[in-house]
Structure formats: C-alpha cells, structure tokens
C-alpha cells in the first residue's frame, strides 16, 4: 500500500508530463552542477589554505627544525 515500488511509483502527479525510465535517463544537469561544485571546492580549499591560513602567521612550527619561510 505504502511502498511506492518501481511499478506503482509515487502517484504520477498531475504535473508529470512524461515517464522517464532508468535507461533513458542521463543526469546531465546534475553532472554539470556537481562539476561546478567541484571547481568551487577546489578553489576555496586552496584559497583557504594558502591565503587565509598561511597568511595568518605566525603559525606553530616544529621546534628547532629547519625554518621554512611561511608565505
């Protein structure tokens, strides 16, 4: 009754104008969006690490070890 299985689906609502099955569906829009998200993440990660974090020095370094100039 409640489990909307493959066949019964969620009641094809009034707005559904076509049925798209598994094999005919390519989530290109999702792929585009998630690609964009990926780029944003990569950019923000590097920005946060190399600009916000390393630019916020002084930072804790390892004792007497070689001192590498932090950006």
């Amino acid at each position: 009754m409640s489990q909307a299985t493959e066949e019964s689906a969620s009641e094809p609502s009034a707005e559904t104008i076509r049925e798209i099955g598994h094999d005919e569906y390519d989530p290109v829009g999702t792929f585009a969006l998630i690609g964009l998200y990926f780029l944003i993440l990569v950019f923000l990660w590097f920005f946060m690490y190399f600009v916000e974090f390393l630019g916020n020095d002084p930072t804790v370094v390892s004792g007497t070890a070689v001192v590498v100039a932090l950006v």
Binding site: F46, T59, V60, V61, S62, V67
Partner: protein, 267 residues
Amino acid sequence: MNVHTYEKIWLVAAMVLIVAFIATITYGSVGLGIAMVGDQQPTIEPTELGDDERFGEPRVEQVGENEYEAYVVAQTFSYQPDPIEVPEDSQVTFYVTARDVIHSFSIAGTNVNTMAIPGEIAEMTVEFDEAGEYGIVCNEYCGPDHHNMEGKLHVVSADEFDLTDLSADGPDEVAVGDSVDVDVVVENRQLEDLETTVTLEIGDETVSEEVTVPGGDAVETTLSVDSSALGEGDHDWTVTVDDHDSSGSVTVLEELDDDADGGEDDE
C-alpha cells in the same frame, strides 16, 4: 549493481578531492614544518604548579641566541604572565598548562591556538619576525567570567627587550649622619652579559655604578648616600636600571629610637 557513468566519474573526482586535501595538509606538516600540539610534554599536577620549576613562576626565559621559552599558566580568568613580552626576530616556545579547568591560549589574529588542559602541557614553537601587540583570548568556556579572560603578548624591538629583574631594598629610618645604604639586585635572565648602570636617586643626590651582569646570573651591589646631605625628614628614592625602576622611602631622624628595616619595593 549498475552505477551510472557520470556517477562513476564523480566517485573518482571525489576520491581525488579527498586525497588532494590530505596531501595539502601533509605538505603543510612536512614541507612547511607546521607542527601540531602533541604529547611531547609530560603530565603535571595542576594543584602543584606552584612547586614546579617552570610553572611555579610563569615567565619568559632565553634558551638560545634567538630562542626563548615562555611558561604560561591559564587559570580562571587570566593568564600568567601578563603581558608576555618577547623580542622580535625570535623563536619562542610556549608551554601552556591550566591550573583549574580547560581553557585555551589563542593569540588573536594568528594561527597560534591551543587548548590548555589541566594536567597536560601544550608545547608550541612560534617565530615572531616583527614587533607588534597581540591579544590573547580564551576561546573555551571556563566559567562565569570566561568572557573577561584575556591577556596580551608584546613583541618588542630587540633594543627594547630585556629579561632584567631589578629589586632594591633600603632602610626605613636612619639617623642623621649615617649613610643610607640601598641594596640592589640586578638579575639578567638573558644569555648575553648585561652591561649597564645602576642609578640611585634620592632627594637631590644621585649616585651610580657601572655593573656587568653575566648571562643567567645576578649581581648584588649597594649604593650609599650620606644622610646629612639629605637632611631630616622623609625622602623618596628610586633605583633605575635601563627601563626598570624600584623605589622606596627613608626617614632621616635626629636620633634613632630603635632600628627598623624595610622600605622595600620591587619593580
């Protein structure tokens, strides 16, 4: 299980992202030498900090040419020492512990940030290239007055900086004609010898003496002024060494009823 090609690509991209994140952090640790607060230090009894060699007297100490150690105690609702003073162009290792509850020791606007946990000692080495003033905040809730818990860190220019301690001690009362002897102790906690002048000013009289205080050591000396030159009455005195001073006062009497000592004042 059939996974759509796009989703497979995303899976790979996600893994690449994850590995890249871990790689960046590793680069920070290995390539740039950023160290985490860890377990290098032994534990400590928070109720016995007073007897501890390092935390009994929270302070900054010089341990190498440009190397310093700062022993810091966080407690409700302040830091000791406060302010913390270190020179520019130095490498400072902070040792931070807590006397009572969990606090933090966080230098605002920098990446110097650690929890201060009773029983544990956080060790952080930091380089200060330029002179400046920083605020220290406690960013872990530690009780009703947590928001008032703050401290200061002064990074001062090399010529302003010293680790000199001055204390002077003189008599409360002297009889006219006797000399007023002020005992002075100059302590130099830096490694290099300190060549300086100790000056005693009392009334219109000034006497001074050149001293050389060896690194990590202290010298004692006595500066004297003849009380007849001062005349009867109360006289304030001040001993100065570089930027430090210590003062007290002495009463010159016609005749001394009973001997007294004191009038001591530390900087």
